[in-house]
Symmetry: C2
Amino acid sequence: MNAPVPSHVLPVYEPRPLPPAMRSALQQRFGARCSTAAAVREQHGRDESPYPVTPPEAVVFCESTDEVAAVVRLAAEHGVPVIPYGTGSSLEGHLLAVQGGISIDVAGMTRIVHLHPEDLTVTVQAGVTREQLNREIKDTGLFFPIDPGANASLGGMAATRASGTNAVRYGTMRENVLGLTVVTASGEVIRTGTRAKKSSAGYDLTRLFVGSEGTLGVITEVTLKLYPLPEAVSAAICHFPTIAGAVNATIQTIQLGVPIARCELLDVNAVRMVNAQSGLGLRESPMLLMEFHGSDASVKEQAETVQAIASELGGEDFAWATTPEERTRLWTARHKAYFAGMQANPGCRSVTTDTCVPISRLAEIIEGSVADADATGLPYYIVGHVGDGNFHLAYLVKDGDAAQRALAEGASQRMVQRALALEGTCTGEHGIGLHKMGFLVDEAGAGTVELMRQVKRALDPKNIMNPGKIFVL
Amino acid sequence: MNAPVPSHVLPVYEPRPLPPAMRSALQQRFGARCSTAAAVREQHGRDESPYPVTPPEAVVFCESTDEVAAVVRLAAEHGVPVIPYGTGSSLEGHLLAVQGGISIDVAGMTRIVHLHPEDLTVTVQAGVTREQLNREIKDTGLFFPIDPGANASLGGMAATRASGTNAVRYGTMRENVLGLTVVTASGEVIRTGTRAKKSSAGYDLTRLFVGSEGTLGVITEVTLKLYPLPEAVSAAICHFPTIAGAVNATIQTIQLGVPIARCELLDVNAVRMVNAQSGLGLRESPMLLMEFHGSDASVKEQAETVQAIASELGGEDFAWATTPEERTRLWTARHKAYFAGMQANPGCRSVTTDTCVPISRLAEIIEGSVADADATGLPYYIVGHVGDGNFHLAYLVKDGDAAQRALAEGASQRMVQRALALEGTCTGEHGIGLHKMGFLVDEAGAGTVELMRQVKRALDPKNIMNPGKIFVL
């Protein structure tokens, strides 16, 4: 492991002030939609990561690809950083203006550009959130499954290669983005991909921009795959005497090839927090929250298989949520775990891990990480998309308490080392941002990261696209 | 459409001769495994495309990543092109030494490096073919589904983003490669990806190399997803009075979300050729060849749904192949369609199209393309992975007959224009190679192709990695 500086400690950046000429050009073009108000800048200089607020010098609220391109052309001319901003739900510091510059807020780009139910595709502007999309396509009998919990923007989800609870069956943004409209670092508008389901036409620029965290261009439109709403949906919870039982039931379910749609772990701490916030009255033990999609027969078959596996591993109280209302109540509680954690620990911020390992190694990493977390004495909880081998151990640390932060970051670093030794990754779905730059080198190796840098330098020679994220040039 | 020069006409390249110092360095290191024999060079200077043989100056038979790296380091030092060579089954001219240089034959790299059945992953050397892989993992109860027909090498399949008959259910190489070992243009060995199922750790270099056709580096190892062998498999054929009926049955099957595993169209010409070669005695009409994977109940359910759809559209003789032997006979016949076409037309070569369109547009493009093909008067046949919106119309043209070739290429160009107008792609799975460079610009736009060039220049500044393919620098 090569981590001379703790991964979460930020390098010192050269400030790049906003030239007055650019400021007035922006104000002339965007009027009140270009803001330098302190409150607006501060809101755009933070996210859900534990870093101090680092505001941009101005925020431009864009409503079209052309407007984004106009901002980027000015930024390129003046060598000023630009940071795309959707809903602000990043956990890794993606949105902080560590080198100054402009925040491009695309939350107003909420148009469904083209809906093609006959092809199971839709093109949306980058500011459309996953919940808005699913509301707007409800009548088509289709849905978009990727669900990271937060009601994130689809542009942001593409930029971080997000996934979440349904990924075990439907894949991540990597598998579900067909094409993009991107404003490049020179302010040019390009399209990647087509609406065809597959293609071998040249370099996969779509996948290059998916997960590039705003460092190669600004995603302004996203073409997505949709899926027919399953004929039958059934959710179940199952309690286990130990976390190992829940994890082993997951491992066997995946190894057997059961096409489970969601398979979420909550440790006893998460269950307690969720109970406190949502009043669900769940039994306070480790549990799996599962969902099955398919025909009536197939859902029944899947559930029976998993129930048999769970029973053998000590699973109890296999309980069904058959109505949509019950299911919504359960999943809403799961999605609010993050806020429940905050609420249970006032004045705290979350240091959230995101390791993902090959499925057979999941028990080993969770066991080691729980022991380590217990030893810190910090409040923590675990939730996870365990069907993918991905889980989040979130430490609640007092805002500004350097000692607590260091304890949590140390444990996080050891967890990443465990994940890498098990041939996994430091981040399943949250991205590198500021927080995991050191881990990226440990994971990918210096040569591979240098190749990423070569791509960055080629596509963004002035280093204006969300600079200082993923790696420092 | 911007195609001043017909797409298939090759530009004139600067020759880049092999310096004697490099030749002797190769011979010293590789001995008899570095060959300059005319027969060996000619075998490596052709593929299944209709271009004239264009041999490399030498062929090096490599047996390890380190050996590939040694060749590339020499090539980088001397500015000499290198062309990775697997089984030679490219249809688009990928393997031709249009700028001279060295062919790196990896067919001897046939080792299964790591098999992890407990994680549903395997790492293989680039020369392992898909049939070898499936033979070697048979005892694990797992299989690798991607099946382009030819018994291609997995390195080559990754390099062209191949797919084939099972892609409608299991995805393409894009979705099924977890990581790669790559020798970069400087001869450095890097790893991309991990064995975790998903990751958000930096740029998706895995997907950048998948489909890069040897132009960014040489893939030497591939880590793949595996799948549990389905509990039940059932294949069926269904005849239709018209090709439109077969296509519309496919469209409705996909729109309904039936998780069909294979859905292949054969036009009447393809059926005739297959009958002549394999003696299957199939009724000579357009047909679908389908396969269903799942539990017993789910396979039954899927098949009933598709049978109902097909019947409404004039489908007849829905016939089942329930034993593995019957299924193998059918699929072998399908896979041999290409060679059956050659056999039925001695002295001909195949000009094969590869368009892929959004599923609802499939009937329209096939209808137009059939009319166009009939008007050429050339022998042709259609096979296709129609569940993905992808099909191949193959023209059989007399080798060296420029007039026939021009007729076929003209029709191919019109078909691509149709596909692009329908928001599809010029190549679903074969790649750009030499043959579709003009189409790539029409499809992606000059700005997007220029961005690909920027990536190429950054990663291969001396333009030694399979130069002259995908685009000309």
